[in-house]
């Protein structure tokens, strides 16, 4: 019971801290806008097909996330508050708190990208099967955050944090990226929900394995 309230308080602290400092949020939103604008310049007035759109959608999500999701541990490390947290919370509370916060951040990011895509690609970015899309986005952000969180914890202990983060994350996330791109294409093409079940199995399996593995290994990363 106390672990739940503890985790909840930690998430609340991170949300409050984020709202006050805007360490990640502003940069993430600007990044999304910049990336989408770049894509628009590249395409001029072409309306790309669903595969390309779904691919670019997740490319924007991936690189934006890589610019912001590591803050969650890097900021604690930079401010010297890692030990403070170690003294007040158990490693599993820290891991799940940070995981859920990163999931929220990823979801916020996905909402931003979706809104922007709907506006700028009004002709071609039409979600014909919303059920596939929402399940993909939900499971995808959970899977995304699960891998991004443990890598962020690792990267926070290293010297070259900024550049190292995408380098370490990409090979881990590639399976997830392929799957969510695939499922998003299905949602854009208007395929029936049952077609995407195979993708969802992979997504569920992925985040369960990632969270399980991270939970068992987090101690080694978190404790000096």
């Amino acid at each position: 019971m106390s672990a739940f309230s503890s985790t909840y308080s930690l998430i609340l602290k991170d949300v409050q801290s984020e709202l006050r400092t805007r360490y990640a949020l502003n940069a993430l939103l600007m990044f999304v806008v910049t990336a989408v604008a770049t894509i628009l310049f590249a395409l001029r007035s072409d309306q790309p097909n669903s595969t390309v759109l779904a691919g670019m959608y997740w490319v924007v999500v991936f690189f934006t996330a890589m610019s912001g999701l590591s803050r969650i541990f890097v900021s604690e490390e930079e401010r010297g508050t890692t030990m403070t947290l170690q003294l007040v919370a158990s490693p599993s509370v820290v891991y799940f708190g940070k995981l859920l916060f990163n999931t929220l951040l990823t979801l916020a990011l996905i909402v931003a990208v979706t809104v922007l895509y709907t506006i700028v690609f009004s002709g071609s970015f039409v979600i014909k099967t919303p059920s596939i899309f929402f399940v993909t986005v939900g499971l995808g952000s959970l899977g995304f955050a699960s891998a991004a969180t443990i890598i962020a914890a690792i990267v926070a202990k290293a010297n070259t944090r900024g550049t190292l983060y995408p380098v370490l994350s990409f090979p881990i996330l590639i399976v997830l990226l392929m799957t969510v791109m695939n499922a998003t294409t299905r949602a854009l093409d208007g395929e029936p929900f049952s077609e995407a079940l195979g993708d969802f199995q992979v997504l569920v399996g992925y985040f369960l394995v990632m969270i399980g593995g991270s939970y068992l290994l987090f101690d080694f990363v978190w404790k000096d």
Binding site: S9, G80, V88
Partner: protein, 222 residues
Amino acid sequence: MWRCGIQVEGSYYPVNDITLTVRDVSKIFNRRIIFENVAFSLSAGESLAITGKNGSGKSTLVKIVCGVLSPTSGTIAYVVNGKILDVEQVKDKIGLVSPYLQLYDEFTGLENLEILSKIRANSVPIGERAGEVLRLVGLWERKNDFLRTYSSGMKQRLKYAFALLHCPPVLILDEPTSNLDAEGIDVVKKIVQEQQKTAILIVATNDKIEADWCQRQMHLGI
């Protein structure tokens, strides 16, 4: 005045029976032996000063005793009422002031205490206790100011408030008076005196005067 533990409701903490035993602890870091076979034992009402020059491993030993760093070999055991505490229980029993431990700049002094105590999620009621410790360290008037507006001495004072917040039966002070003015040092002396009466106190310092606050002294390094 600081009357730790006594006023706290419930059976959160019997201070009278706690023992800390450090047995043959060694730490090797990056192939350098920081220290070897450190051993001591402290019971409630006892205090120990850990001295040694820069780089002798005082802070490392403090981290090990707090359970945030694992020793290369040896064991640390906290025994309360005959029961050995596990790692997570140990944290509730320790108050730490250290240059390696910082608080959050984007929150006020009071918020820092409230948030951290909620994350700790133990049964100590925070309301009055936060006011108590803030008054003790002389930050009551500034409790609603953001930490980024605090001077380094005020931050050090707030660390004391944080360390004493949950009435720890073990208080560990690493460089206890850094950044503090004369008034701040007096507060620390008072805390040290009170803590020694009923609980365990460890002070890691270079300073001869600070080391003399404690009943025993241990020198690290050659």
